[in-house]
Symmetry: C2
Subunit: 235 residues, 2 copies
DNA sequence: GCGACGTTTCGGCCCCGACCGAAACGTCTG
DNA sequence: CAGACGTTTCGGTCGGGGCCGAAACGTCGC
């Protein structure tokens, strides 16, 4: 029986993702925030009991992790490998037709700048990674950390990172830009620092983020990064 | 048609992949070769009629493309985005237990060097991309083509590429190495050139490839690339 | 043209899993 | 402690999808 090679059980994982309710949940969690079960039930348009079933399967498969906070249970994507596969599936899926102006502006906003699980993606994520590479903060090819100083200037506490088993840096391919951007622990810390400093802010309930006026000024001053669209709309 | 990343229908694609038979087929096609329907039926251990059903669904979903050759129909993965998602799913799947020595040596061989859809992956793919970057053939970060000469030395007809809509180069993250390697049209042409020149050869029926003795000598001479394990076994 | 072979279509069986409501469980509040 | 709320567990129903065999279709060889 040849062809046993490489026969990792793709289907078992894909089957877990291959359900409308669970797919909606995963897509919602791509925003990077941890959401309680009831919220995910609402997103997936199923009853709380059904959602509980689905979430159990997602966690059993190792796709989602849970934290208990009082009587709530917050769910998030397990790691960025999961996020990347979900992003890939989203790109493979037939483009859904836009039904309203509000949805359209939301999608252009997402293309411009969005959070992917726990780091920055979209045109902004790519531009940031490019600029940090130009500045010598990131290694040429593998996006390894070369110089921590620019990150510190962004408010990232670089020294406290790198202890876990998670890769410090990681090149994550962006599906709309077809260019790599920064993921891994450092990518996550950078997104968090930018959110904390108010240089970028989440827009609505989705994955889209936007550069704030102070952020526009700060990114210019600290990194020399310009031509960032504060307002969405310029594809 | 604006592309809506937020709520793209992940589940519809994942459901197509989330069936044992179809998953086996996709895994088999990761080897990069086009396979006829009967062969895929054998791989998936289903009847020809069932396999036909599955293949129809895979092609409808845009995951697999078909070419007719006489009374055979050869199926291959549609593009490298599909291949990358399938690779990601395989990495997410629980490690399958190895049942025989033969399987184990096959899997170590795959980790050392393998074809992923139509380009080179594994440790060899990463080493090659690294070396080509060092030589200035590839751009620092995005793995863009910077100098075609080293590719020509490998037997790649660079001039004939770049006409289609497929990206000429593309950074593809390798799941076992956690490092990028070269995909895209140039990656595919490079694998093909190395196979044509006999510098690497497919091992058995799976995805594993191996550097041949002439290839070892040639890669050293042309690229200064050393420390390649001709025989598998050194993880 | 005829048979062999690869592939697809069709009909029918069967089982898995998605769904819900009711009820139990755990946690915070008054 | 009682009641509200978020969440999970349990039974039971139901539809969709995976499976196969038989037969049709298309292609190749003689």
């Amino acid at each position: 029986m040849p062809y046993m090679a490489g026969d990792a059980d793709i289907a078992s994982v894909a089957a877990v993702m291959g359900n409308p309710a669970r797919g909606s949940m995963l897509a919602a969690l791509l925003g990077g925030r941890a959401l309680p079960a009831g919220e995910l039930a609402r997103v997936a348009r199923v009853s709380p009991s059904t959602a509980s079933d689905h979430l159990a399967r997602l966690t059993d498969a190792g796709l989602v992790s849970v934290e208990r906070f009082g009587r709530h249970r917050y769910h998030r994507l397990a790691d960025d490998r999961v996020a990347q596969v979900v992003e890939g599936l989203a790109a493979l899926a037939p483009a859904r037709r836009v039904r309203s102006l509000r949805e359209d502006s939301q999608s252009t906003a997402e293309r411009a700048a969005r959070s992917c699980y726990d780091h920055l993606a979209g045109a902004l994520g790519v531009a940031l990674a490019d600029r940090l590479t130009e500045l010598g903060a990131l290694d040429d090819q593998s996006l390894g950390l070369a110089d921590p100083e620019p990150f510190r200037a962004l408010g990232v506490d670089v020294a406290s990172l790198g202890s876990g088993r998670r890769p410090l840096t990681r090149s994550c391919l962006d599906w709309s830009e077809r260019r790599p951007h920064l993921a891994g622990e450092l990518g996550a810390a950078t997104l968090q620092a930018l959110l904390d400093s108010g240089w970028i802010a989440r827009r609505g309930h989705g994955r889209a983020v936007a550069v704030t006026p102070p952020g526009r000024e700060g990114l210019h001053r600290v990194l020399g990064l310009d031509a960032l669209s504060v307002a969405p709309g310029c594809g």
